[in-house]
Amino acid sequence: MTTTLERPQKDQPTSDRPFKQSKRIPAGSVWVVWTLAGLALVTGFVTDLGGAKGFGLAWLIAASIPAMSFAVEGRRKATDRFVTLLVVTAFTVAVIPLVSIISTVFAKGFPVMSSEFFTSSMRNVVGEGGGINHAIVGTLIITGLATIISVPIGLFAAIYLVEYSEDSRTAHGLRFLVDVMTGIPSIVAGLFAYALFVLFFGEGVRMGLGGAVALSVLMIPVVIRSSEEMLKLVPNELREASWALGVPRWRTILKVVLPTALAGIVTGVTLAIARVIGETAPLLIIAGITDSVNTNPLEGRMATLPVFAYSAMMNPGVPPEPSIARAWGAALTLLIIVMALNLIARLISAFFSPSKGR
């Protein structure tokens, strides 16, 4: 090793492009500038300087890094540092509204939360008081029905794609259509459910089951995609071993493939539920809004959390304040449910499939 290290040193003087140690700005000073910029940003939001000015100030401070670099290190390194600044800026720009959203919902929604808020409906409530019990019940029923419709269809379609299709042309086409179906706008799903139910129940139909159908249209492609990924991860050796023992194909799927992929499938279904539970537009069209608890999905309007939040905020009545406060409470409840579902999905996949990881 030592000899190979020494040789270039001997050769160096003869080389026509001698290696030059490039100048660098010390790493410590870079961190000092980043910290200062971060402080300026925080000050802007905390004090009455204002977020915009704080952001501008922080950016100017941080911009001194590429400027210094241009003077000391040259153009290429300065460009590199400038792009780093841009990337960090993009990150900050993305994070600020997201922090603002979460903090607003918690700040405005939390004061409303009480046991009365969760146990009472809006029936005969004018002004203060009332709650979201009817909306929670509606959301649970409609989302539950949507899950009952979507999971068997989605799971079996995924089984078809992975176990039976043998990568045929049909399978490719189907996969493609499922991908395209993922992009159906939620309001179009709502209109579809309305157009379908009008055929059977006549003009102006509103019912919980329609909402479940609309949500299923949105949920099925998500379930298929995630289940398919999970079924693909099951090693082929397991299937072959089972076939070799004379186990029929369907029992192999039922007893070997599905149990192996179960944790992943449950994770995918949970995420799919989290995705559709917050859907507002289709439910606004087909499930509508009401003030009382309705537990019959085949009869009449059914309130849901997102639609409740929407209508309480947009049509608050007089005086508007209590209604808007309830809207924030409903929004916070919804947000907590979605976050909890995501966390559950994360935990399931972390506990049951340790080998899968990026």
Binding site: P97, F156, L174, G183, P185, E203
Partner: protein, 306 residues
Amino acid sequence: MNKTIQRPGDTIFRGTAVAAATTILVTLAAVGIFLTIKGIPGMTASPEEVKHGTTFLAYVAPLVFGTLWAAALALAIATPVGIGVALFISHYAPRKLAGPVGYVIDLLAAVPSVVFGAWGIMTLAPAMRGPYAWLEDNLGFIPFFAGPASATGRTMLTAALVLAVMVIPIMTALCREIFLQTPRLHEEAALALGATRWEMVRMAVFPHAKSGIVSAAMLALGRALGETMAVAMVLSASGVVTFNLISSTNPSTIAANIALSFKEASGLTVNALIATGLVLFVITFAVNFVARLIVTGPNRAKAAKS
């Protein structure tokens, strides 16, 4: 395959799987067919029979414009930011930070749209009043900022900003996946040749990710086109066609218009609304179709090559 004994269990199971797969095709077709059946009376209805009092074409044209305009604005804001955040997670952030940040971004993609809408109308719109007045005073010569600046802040630009905030997590998640798939050897080769980090990204990561970025942008566009509640809540719309971003008269979008008008609609007006929904379906279908073609096309070719 042909010589295996066909057990009844197998036949049933296979049949169920095929039936489920067929359901997908039937559903997709049914969405198109039902919207068409219910939409055609609305398209052909005479102006006197519907609430909006115009022919369907005159009704839907400003809405299509508003939909495309809002989505394009949102995409123009979200694409650079989304790529930046994805790069931050995949190549710039310290590894310990990148994991949690990626998880939080995934979480945010799941935040319900009504929450974004509520934030847009209650927090963002009031906060934008000052900047809009400033834009009108200082940049009013540009048609986009001609004003008069909205007193409520509920303008096209606010709606586009909310849409951008909504699609940034999606853009980020898709781009991050693509950036992480860059062959490690290409990156290391670039660095070994003395490239700075940015030169490495430009020479190794971006060429590899080009088609992926385009399709991510298209998918985000599809999402922005169909987004309903945020626009319905934030935008104060009046069915005009204008490029003015900061005034209080704005074109509505198809989705928001359906959500706002459906409750009070009856008779042929409902059919007209469904017909606008069909137009939206066709637009998003086309956008998603092209996006998926971009994704599968080159990748398949690449897989065949290697």
